[in-house]
């Protein structure tokens, strides 16, 4: 009954006002897209040969980090943080590659599903430990960073394994037009199919609620602990997708985690998610990842020393976030 009432209320709110408020709410993401467009133009200006194949390469290189940042965004929205994202990616990646080596294409379907379940399980362990022990998120996930990384090395000591062919083909090559990379489409589909229904459900609201004001959430009748565990499970799931994307894009797996954890935190911040919880979405961080990666590409084209490029990247991160919070401050003053 409440569903019927709610739809009528939404209709009465009017399309135009809801569109305006939706635009205002995703203002940060939209301006990030603007920055991205400018950066693409700059890239094209510096390197005229940058074209469809460049976009393809960009999409493939960006995919694992984009999924990692989505994973991170979900917990940060719920006022948590997960430092074990990189380790979970490494673990799920090596498990998938080890199992797929020498197995049939159809068996790989089961393996992929199993690895996704494993991701949910890893996240559930993280979340349950935090909720039950009441040790702060950052401490628990820091500890689990070592646990999952160690497990990954137990599974596979050196890079190896294999990926099913269909999995590899999911992330390589174009779709329909040579300008549309399959990797980007697949990644956006994964995120949209999982996140959008959750975002619209009561569970999704609860994620934002416990991030925004845990006490009010508790008093509104939300189980804060259960919601938190759910948030970490989602993070585990997206990390597993990230791990699978590592296997798929490289064809093998590496047991040592890449720099994904801290980069994902950076992307989340740049992507407009408040580290104090309750604000932001998952698409902002995805755009942020592309921006960060494109900046690297531009600096490579400009022959900037790679170490210097890292320094510059850090400063740009701080600068953009500072400008963002200044804008926000202005808006709240008004």
């Amino acid at each position: 009954m409440s569903a019927a009432v709610s739809t009528s209320a939404r209709a009465s709110a009017g399309w135009s006002t809801s569109l305006v408020s939706a635009l205002r709410r995703s203002g940060w993401t939209i301006s990030l897209l603007g920055i991205l467009a400018v950066l693409l133009l700059i890239t094209k200006a510096i390197q005229p040969t940058f074209g469809a194949s460049g976009i393809q390469g960009l999409a493939i290189s960006v995919m694992p980090l984009a999924l990692a940042s989505v994973a991170q965004a979900v917990v940060v929205i719920a006022r948590g943080i997960d430092l074990s994202v990189g380790s979970m990616m490494a673990l799920t990646s090596v498990v998938s590659a080890a199992l797929m080596e020498g197995r049939s294409e159809t068996a790989a379907i089961g393996i992929v599903l199993g690895v996704l379940l494993l991701g949910l399980l890893l996240g559930a362990v993280n979340g349950t430990l935090i909720v039950v022990t009441r040790v702060p998120d950052i401490v628990v996930t820091l500890a689990m960073l070592f646990v999952w990384a160690g497990c990954a090395l137990l599974v596979m000591e050196t890079p190896g394994g294999a990926s099913a062919q269909w999995l590899r083909s999911l992330t390589s090559g174009p779709l329909l037009s040579s300008w549309i990379p399959k990797a980007a489409v697949v990644m956006l589909l994964i995120v949209a199919v999982i996140w959008l229904p959750i975002r619209r459900s009561r569970l999704g609201l609860s994620l934002y609620a416990i991030g925004s004001e845990p006490l009010a959430a508790f008093r509104s009748g939300i189980s804060v602990g259960r919601t938190k565990i759910f948030a970490y499970m989602l993070t585990g799931l997206f990390s597993a997708f990230g791990g699978l994307s590592l296997t798929a894009t490289t064809g093998i797996a590496t047991p040592v985690p890449g720099p994904y954890t801290l980069m994902s935190v950076a992307a989340v911040v740049l992507g407009g998610v408040s580290l104090s919880g309750g604000r932001g979405g998952v698409f902002g961080p995805i755009v942020a990842v592309v921006i960060l990666s494109l900046l690297r590409t531009i600096m490579t084209f400009l022959n900037v020393n790679t170490n210097l490029a890292t320094v510059v990247q850090g400063f740009i991160l701080v600068g953009v976030v500072m400008v963002g919070s200044l804008i926000q401050l202005r808006r709240s003053r008004r």
Binding site: S2, S8, S212, L215
Partner: protein, 524 residues
């Protein structure tokens, strides 16, 4: 259902709760009949909040039984209590600031149509459901919270200080709605420090003192005095003493230069043009309805915000504050209504009191602990702060927390005290202590600017009062001889032709005015 053991809708018996060594509830009982509005009264620290938390499932009791409709029940979470028909509205609204109202309703699975109906009843018909909760004023959030609770048609509705800091017109709508609920199938547990409200809507009152139920009173003629007696035990005479002392004070000992002069102060759209002088030795009241610019005035004077225009003089010298530290250096210190804004909740009482004067010491070098200790002990004694739980301020009751915020300025030698609704949500006994303290401070030479949402406090504590309406000072009243109806009229700015029409319609619907003085002031 037809059990004869109890006709009560809600029956809590012998509830007890300990926090370590501190006993919050010894043996509290509460019996609510169907269709009644039942007041739950008690001084701060008497255990009201703990009892409410236990009834709503937020806290588990150590002992005792809770029966709902004759069946024993223990709720383990607010969600469970809610499903059992027990819904509460707290002092701080339980709305998620980062979600819009619509999502907030969805979160609690509240049906929209009844919600809209109640919003209308409560005087907020034009609310935009897609507005973010954080953008709405506190008063609206409280009304939304109440409408949301009413919308699911609860068996027992619990209102904890619902009307505190609510503007007069909204308070009235709330009381009207409660009145209409009387005699229906559901009941209301009503917690308020305002006696007039109790008198106008409640059927019976349960009084708690030191964690125990000390009496149940049928509300009617003379019940207010009985309730106050029960609440306070013996110490009832303070307010009388205060009234006497008050008349002894000679208010006309003004020096030529005022302590603080404010000229044509303006900020944003709320504060338009405010000028006044504050002299040492006086308590200057600010009479204003909610949102007339008084918040902005205090923000500017305490150095939180910089004014768009206007001048401030301290002891004849022009000043401009860029930071609260500047204001404190100029001797202007601030006591906010919200204790959480002023205190380090996780630190000890002593540290909180010592903080302002410790920070005045040279930046380098040791803090002289012994000296600090003496000063702090002195002010703890002076304000009679309950130090049983002094390790962490957040474990103190609201009244004691407020005392700590005042104590810190008393300890460092106060010159000008800016009090913004310092007695909000505080019980009568602690209120009395705060009144006495403010008077004493003024008598010893401090200048005090006091805004209060309870008009009956003005004649009790203030010498003069300025009236702010629509961001401008519209008048000044001699506070000592003003009664509440006069102040209420002044606050509505009756007198200028323009506002006459609205104001008249407003006052005719305020039946609570004239009684307040007697009941609040002198329960002899």
């Amino acid at each position: 259902m037809t059990t004869t053991t109890t006709d009560y809708l809600l029956h809590a018996q012998d509830i007890s709760k300990h926090y370590g060594a501190v006993v919050a509830l010894r043996s509290a009982s509460l019996a609510v009949r169907p269709g009644e509005v039942h007041a739950l009264m008690g001084a701060n620290g008497a255990g009201k909040s703990t009892l409410v938390k236990i009834l709503t499932g937020a806290v588990r009791p150590d002992g005792g039984t809770i029966m709902v409709r004759g069946r024993e029940r223990t709720a383990h979470s607010p969600a469970e209590a809610r499903r059992g028909g027990l819904v509460s509205v707290y002092q701080e609204p339980a709305l998620i600031p980062d979600l819009d109202i619509f999502s907030n309703l969805r979160l609690t699975e509240t049906p929209i149509e009844p919600f809209r109906h109640w919003l209308e009843e409560l005087g907020l018909p034009d609310l935009d459901l897609s507005a973010m909760a954080r953008t709405l004023p506190l008063a609206s959030l409280r009304i939304i919270d109440l409408a949301r609770a009413l919308a699911i048609d609860p068996d027992v509705l619990m209102l904890d200080e619902m009307t505190a800091a609510l503007p007069a017109n909204l308070t009235e709508r709330v009381l009207e709605v409660l009145n209409r609920m009387r005699g229906g199938s559901s009941s209301v547990i009503f917690i308020s420090h305002r006696m007039t409200e109790i008198g106008s809507v409640c059927d019976r009152a349960t009084v708690l003192r030191e964690g125990e139920t000390v009496g149940v009173v049928d509300v009617g003629e003379g019940s207010a005095e009985r309730i106050v007696e029960l609440m306070l035990g013996e110490a009832v005479d303070q307010q009388e003493a205060l009234a006497e002392r008050h008349h002894v004070v000679a208010p006309e000992q003004r020096k030529h230069t005022p302590r603080v002069s404010v000229r044509n102060l303006a900020l944003n759209t709320r504060l338009k043009d405010v000028s006044f002088d504050l002299y040492e030795g006086e308590v200057l009241g600010v009479v204003a309805l909610e949102g007339q610019g008084q918040d902005e005035l205090f923000d500017v004077l305490s150095g939180w915000e910089r004014p768009h225009s206007g001048e401030i003089f301290v002891n004849g010298q022009q000043v401009s504050f860029r930071h609260p530290a500047d204001a404190i250096r100029a001797g202007l210190v601030f006591v906010p209504a919200d204790r959480a804004e002023a205190l380090l909740m996780q630190r000890s009482v002593r540290e909180n009191i010592a903080l302002p004067f410790s920070s005045r010491l040279p930046r380098w070098g040791w803090i002289r602990k012994k000296k600090e200790h003496q000063t702090v002990s002195h002010s703890i004694e002076k304000l009679q702060i309950d130090t049983r739980a002094q390790g962490e301020v957040r474990r103190l009751s609201g009244g004691n927390q407020q005392k700590v915020t005042i104590a810190r300025w008393v300890a460092s030698g106060v010159e000008t005290l800016l009090c913004f609704d310092p007695t909000r949500g505080i019980d009568i006994r602690t209120k009395n202590q705060i009144y006495v303290l403010l008077r004493e401070l003024a008598d010893s030479g401090a200048a005090i600017l006091l805004y209060t949402s309870e008009l009956s406090e003005i004649p009790l504590v203030c010498d003069r009062a300025i009236v702010i309406f629509g961001g401008e000072v519209v008048g000044e009243v001699d506070a000592r001889h003003a009664d509440e109806p006069t102040l209420l009229k002044a606050a509505h700015n009756i007198g200028t032709e323009k506002e006459m029409a609205e104001a008249v319609s407003e006052t005719t619907t305020v039946p609570l005015g004239p009684e307040t003085d007697e009941e609040e002031e002198a329960p002899s």
